[in-house]
């Protein structure tokens, strides 16, 4: 069984190659695989009807309790037959429908991938594997709905379907994990066989809500039904396959699969019957309003899905029989009807039933097939749809539901008769409506599917007992989890369900005669429908955009200073809280202090303060020098001679470097308001206080024994060095030092590159990384997420800041000029001169490059 799934994926991978060899015939060749699989699955019918199940075990990720074990029982057999059987005809149909389409190969790949995922989903025994296949069907469905990716509508519909189903999938994952936790295993069979009563588990309601969210979104239950009609943007083979016969039934399948474990409780019955009935009514009602053939069918699919949920909710044996029968009947006739609608669309170029009429003579086979399939849809004897509908009504009347739900179901039944009549009669009978193109019967391969499916529908209806015996009863038993005594029959005698059927048929046909008037009348309800769940979906999506715009504006505002402030405040908050909550600060003032030490510390602190408030660059450099040399003095005073020497060297170099570079930059301008300064000073003081406390606490706390002792002891005996600090650097931590050398080398390279390579826009000139040139004073439109008003405001602010800057620059220039004048007058004239020459050289270079940039 694992092979049956894998071989489909394998074939999907081979399809592009096959297509390059076989072109248009590819689809027909591909169809052989599902056909063979159908036969293979059908060969297991005897085993399943005799009450057996087929289990193929395969451990996949045993450590995580994930297996690829697959199980074939009545329910999965029925689904497997539908997937492979209908899939065969869909492939044939698609080959003709999209004949000559440039993306046919891509379409076939995705379709096959979907087929494999769906088959894997219904065969999987492991909950995680099931979930993986579940998501795969969502993704392939997305690709298939969006097949016409050049159309905005198709993309939008595909995304909507994806978001709704995958959103539900997320809830489903949580539900399945809860289920596995409660049931003690990820294997469905083990959960089923365990003695644990899940319906009394404290997590029962939680997991039910999560799982049902997944199932309802996938199976387009109210209020998530809106994505399904929109998914009709997909090519018709996709609608016929995914959105009627298979994928949308995945949610139904899941609920049926979990029914033995989770079903039958009051919560289950109430939720499923009410949502099912509501979905039925919504689907039927929306279907009557539509004139697009595919929309009609899509809404009637929503109705059918609601019916299936309702039947599962009823939780009686009879309902389970009806469930399986209805599911089979629906797949047969709806698959056929979609393909027939596609044929009409393909041949006439329109799907609007009001634009169609009298096609019967031109397309006789299509007309007959549609009529037969619509009979099944409306529930007319002798079709299988009739058998299913009788069972539905009977189980409903005997089931645990109120009158309201019964009334909703009967209303839907009436509406669906109208829909069936519209589909079967409008395009084919009545006055012929001339079309733009010449109409003829569809090619044989396109007709193959509808003909076979309607024939099966008819045969199943004529021999319900056989169908029931072979297919639907084993499925019902698998759902119920116990043997069911019963049989399917066409004729149950004259009883209440039959009477209800007759009434709904009569009323439905009557309404069909006045369908145009009915639609006009229903238009009154348009305002309500426009505010339905789909509007909610759009509002939700809009909300996401608004929230993300807001949070991008607030968090990702691109201002380095805001980021810094946020980081610092978070650090201060978190560290400060932990520090003060867990530890205590001991201020031990009883320490020996010498006067010269105090003086050095005072110089350090006042120099640091002076740096922060000075407005002159020279002052800043000088005070920075004082800070650095004070630090060096502290190092020397407290037994760190190496540090002192290094610090003095580095500090000297730093001052030279700053003097060289800083004076080529504009002077300090004061653009901050006092409030801004106050805020930043507050943040700064908080950090300072925190660091002081941190030191005081770390002096007392020794978390680990120091490793210094080892280094001191072995410095001379092992490393032959008497300066322990040096030994640590070149011996104990030699790799660190090597890394340090690399860092310095890289910094030197970077500095060299930046100084050496000038920006150059001459054609043919070398362009090095980092030589991006922007025209000066450019104000780019960066604030895409802001509203127009905000952008305007920001622009004005920028202009104001720019003006201020220019003014400050001019002032600074005057200041520098005067200072350099005084400097050249001093005794160090020669040195200053050389400095000035280099800097003027640089400046001329700069101005050249600026010209180039302009």
């Amino acid at each position: 069984m694992q092979l049956s799934v894998l071989v489909i994926y394998l074939l999907a991978a081979l399809t592009p190659w096959l297509y390059s060899k076989q072109q248009a015939r590819t689809a027909n060749i591909l169809a052989l695989l599902p056909a063979a699989l159908t036969l293979w699955f059908a060969s297991h019918i005897p085993l399943i009807t005799s009450g057996g199940i087929l289990v193929h075990e395969y451990a996949w990720i045993p450590g995580l309790d994930i297996s690829l074990t697959m199980v074939l029982d009545g329910l999965s057999l029925m689904f497997a037959l539908l997937i492979c059987g209908i899939g065969t005809f869909i492939l044939l149909y698609a080959g003709s429908y999209l004949k000559g389409h440039k993306d046919l190969a891509r379409f076939l790949v995705t379709l096959l991938a979907f087929m494999g995922s769906m088959l894997g989903l219904i065969l999987a025994d492991n909950l995680i594997t099931l979930f993986v296949f579940w998501e795969l069907t969502s993704i392939t469905s997305y690709l298939l709905i969006g097949f016409k990716h050049e159309s905005a509508d198709a993309r939008k519909a595909a995304l909507q379907g994806l978001i709704v189903t995958v959103g539900g999938g997320l809830a489903l994952l949580a539900g399945l994990i809860m289920l596995a936790g409660a049931g003690g295993s990820y294997s469905l069979q083990e959960i089923f066989n365990s003695s644990e009563v899940l319906s009394e588990h404290p997590l029962y309601v939680g997991m039910m809500i999560c799982i049902l969210l997944g199932a309802f979104t996938k199976s387009a239950q109210f209020p998530f039904h809106f994505w399904l009609p929109n998914a009709m943007a997909a090519p018709t083979p996709v609608s016929a396959y995914l959105h009627s016969a298979t994928m949308v039934k995945a949610g139904i399948y899941l609920m049926a699969r979990l029914y033995p474990e989770l079903g039958g409780t009051e919560f289950w019955i109430n939720t499923l019957t009410s949502f099912g009935a509501l979905t039925m009514l919504t689907g039927a009602f929306m279907a009557v309003r539509s004139t697009d053939l595919k929309k009609l069918l899509a809404y009637s699919t929503v109705m059918a899905l609601g019916t299936l949920t309702l039947l599962l909710g009823l939780s009686t044996e009879l309902a389970m029989m009806a469930f399986a029968a209805y599911l089979l009947a629906h797949s047969l006739y709806k698959g056929a009807l979609f393909m027939l609608a596609g044929i009409v669309d393909h041949e006439t170029g329109t799907r609007d039933v009001t634009q169609l009429g009298g096609l019967r003579k031109l397309m006789p086979i299509t007309a007959i097939c549609t009529l037969i399939a619509a009979f099944s849809l409306a529930g007319l004897p002798p079709m299988f749809g009739f058998v299913a509908k009788e069972l539905l009504l009977e189980s409903l009347l005997k089931g645990p539901v109120g009158l309201l739900i019964i009334l909703m179901v009967i209303t839907s039944a009436i509406f669906v008769v109208v829909v069936a009549a519209v589909i079967a009669l409008k395009p084919f009978y009545g006055r012929f409506v001339p079309q733009a193109r010449t109409i003829h019967e569809a090619p044989k391969l396109m007709l193959a599917g509808p003909v076979v499916l309607t024939t099966l529908s008819l045969l199943a209806g004529l021999f319900p007992a056989v169908t029931g015996q072979l297919i639907t009863l084993p499925a019902s038993m698998a759902v119920a989890g116990q043997p069911i005594e019963g049989y399917l029959a066409l004729w149950h005698g004259i009883n209440l369900p039959l009477l209800l059927s007759i009434i709904s048929l009569a009323v439905g046909y009557g309404l069909y005669r006045y369908w145009d008037t009915l639609r006009d009348t229903l238009r009154i309800l348009n305002p309500i429908i426009e505010r339905g769940p789909e509007a909610g979906y759009f509002r939700f999506m809009q909300g996401i955009v608004i929230v993300s715009e807001w949070q991008t504006r607030v968090l990702q505002n691109g201002s380095m200073r805001n980021y810094l402030r946020t980081i610092i405040l978070t650090f201060v908050g978190v560290t400060g809280y932990t520090l003060l909550w867990r530890y205590q600060v001991h201020w031990n003032w009883d320490v020996s202090v010498y006067l010269h030490e105090i003086v050095v510390v005072l110089i350090l602190v006042s120099a640091a303060a002076a740096v922060s408030i000075t407005g002159s660059r020279l002052g800043a450099v000088a005070t920075m020098g004082s800070v650095g040399f004070s630090v060096a003095l502290i190092f020397i005073l407290f037994s760190a001679t190496d540090l002192g020497i290094t610090q003095i060297l580095v500090e000297t170099l730093t001052v030279i470097l700053l003097v060289l570079v800083l004076f080529r930059l504009p002077g300090f301008s004061s653009t901050s308001t006092p409030a801004e300064r106050g805020r930043d000073a507050f943040v700064a003081v908080l950090t300072g206080v925190l660091m002081t406390l941190l030191i005081m606490i770390t002096i007392d706390v020794q978390l680990f024994p120091s490793i210094s002792d080892y280094m001191i002891e072995n410095s001379q005996p092992l490393a032959y060095g008497r300066n322990i600090v040096n030994v640590i650097l070149v011996d104990y931590r030699a790799l660190d030092t090597l890394g340090e050398i690399f860092v310095l080398a890289l910094a030197a390279l970077g500095v060299y590159a930046m100084i050496k390579f000038r920006p150059d826009t001459q054609p043919g000139a070398n362009h090095y990384a980092g030589t991006l040139i922007l025209p000066p004073k450019q104000v780019p439109e960066k604030h895409l997420v802001l509203s127009l008003d905000e952008r305007k405001q920001i622009k004005e602010e920028q202009i104001r800041a720019e003006k201020l800057r220019i003014k400050a620059e001019a002032e600074a220039k005057i200041a520098t000029e005067t200072s350099s004048l005084t400097a050249s007058n001093s005794s160090n004239a020669t040195e200053d001169d050389s400095l000035n020459t280099t800097s003027s050289d640089e400046q001329s270079n700069n101005s050249e490059s600026n010209k180039g940039a302009q």
Binding site: L665, T692, I755
Partner: protein, 115 residues
């Protein structure tokens, strides 16, 4: 001495953070220099301060005589000083180059250049 040094380090940190929050990129670099000095002193102080006992072993001896200052934090700080200088040199040249190209030293305006 430690409490006094702790307060001094706190002041250095405060000055560093304040400078880093200014608009001018030059001030940011000065803040960075203050920050590295502050961090070095933080390590130095919290390891405990010892007067007049450098971690040296006299000639002929296998072990140092008496109590000496902890050599490990000193080694760490030595690395830090040199790295900080490398970073500073790079940063200074980088802002110089950036100013030449985008003609602003204002951090708030620099963010608009990555179009």
């Amino acid at each position: 001495m430690e409490p006094i040094m702790a307060i001094a380090v706190g002041c250095l940190y405060a000055a560093a953070i304040y400078m880093m929050l200014r608009r001018s990129i030059v001030k940011l670099v000065i803040g960075l220099m203050l920050l590295s000095n502050a961090a070095n002193l933080l390590i130095f102080t919290s390891a405990g301060m010892t007067r007049g006992a450098p971690p040296l072993i006299p000639v002929g001896a296998m072990q140092p005589e008496g109590i000496i200052a902890d050599p490990l934090p000193q080694a760490l700080i030595l690395t830090a000083i040199v790295i900080a200088f490398g970073v500073l040199a790079f940063a200074v040249v980088l802002i110089h180059r950036a100013y030449n190209i985008i003609h602003t030293d204002n951090l708030d305006q620099m963010k608009d250049t990555d179009t």
